[in-house]
Symmetry: C2
Subunit: 136 residues, 2 copies
DNA sequence: TTCTTGACTTGGACTCTGTCCATCGTAGGA
DNA sequence: TCCTACGATGGACAGAGTCCAAGTCAAGAA
């Protein structure tokens, strides 16, 4: 739970009420919120918090590797606090719901050297798309 | 080459000079352009073409299944004319270059039923990220 | 505890990407 | 050649995100 807060403090992240609230919002429910949704929830606890501050805090959490940025559609990025367990995403094409999934296999190994064109491949993202039970 | 133009005409796509230019831009170099880049190239051939028209044409080409929309970053979508050969993408994290790649294996088969949460999974996108030779 | 200061927050302006709409123009069939 | 429904135009608008100058404050020093 507030492991996250402890880790951040331990890493010298200057703790302000705004940053605390953003971290708590992400640490709470295990969902994939957009920046605006994070802002909306943060405002419930700290009415004066500004959009810019939420964007700043999210950007820093991403840089620190505590949160993953997910662009499932061309719209707003979503923020995934489950950064310490490798996983992929399953997205509903209709309502946009995102679920973490754990496929078997290692997609990195599936890309032969001849298909790497000299790139240094560092990561792979897999996005499964379909319809969730409610939308099907 | 202008297979694309033929196919579109054959499918009853009303051919205007604007639509022709957009199709030709995509059909030419085999790169992954943003809508603005498509517009810039279209303007070279047809100076009066408007942004809205380019967006309309791209949207229709996507609906027709002739072009694939790719969101590799949270920024502008890119349009991939290589729609008739299944492939995945390799993206340079520094300069944004996108290359088509053909991994082995079938990632759809790697998602066990227990990890599908009742979703009807229809498609899977794999994005490899790293640094291209010029940026490394 | 109080002071100090550099880092953080604010809100408004701005950019970028994309969509919408009323009006005008034209491809292609009769 | 003429008609007309479909397409193009461009300007306004919207959503997501960034930037900046000015004000505020966390946390270390004294």
């Amino acid at each position: 739970m507030s492991d996250l807060l402890e880790r951040l403090r331990g890493r010298g992240w200057r703790m302000t009420s705004q940053r605390r609230v953003v971290a708590e919002v992400l640490d709470g429910d295990h969902v994939h919120l957009t920046a605006d949704e994070v802002h909306a929830r943060a405002v419930e606890r700290l009415p004066e918090i500004s959009r810019a501050t939420v964007y700043n805090a999210l950007g820093e959490l991403v840089s620190l590797g505590e949160v993953i940025e997910v662009s499932t559609d061309g719209r707003a990025k979503r923020y995934d606090p489950n950064a310490h367990h490798p996983h992929q995403h399953l997205v509903c094409s209709s309502c946009g719901t995102v679920r973490d999934v754990h496929p078997t296999g290692n997609p990195l190994a599936d890309l032969p050297a001849t298909e790497r064109f000299g790139f240094t491949v560092a990561a792979v993202e897999v996005t499964y798309r379909g319809l969730c039970p409610s939308c099907a």
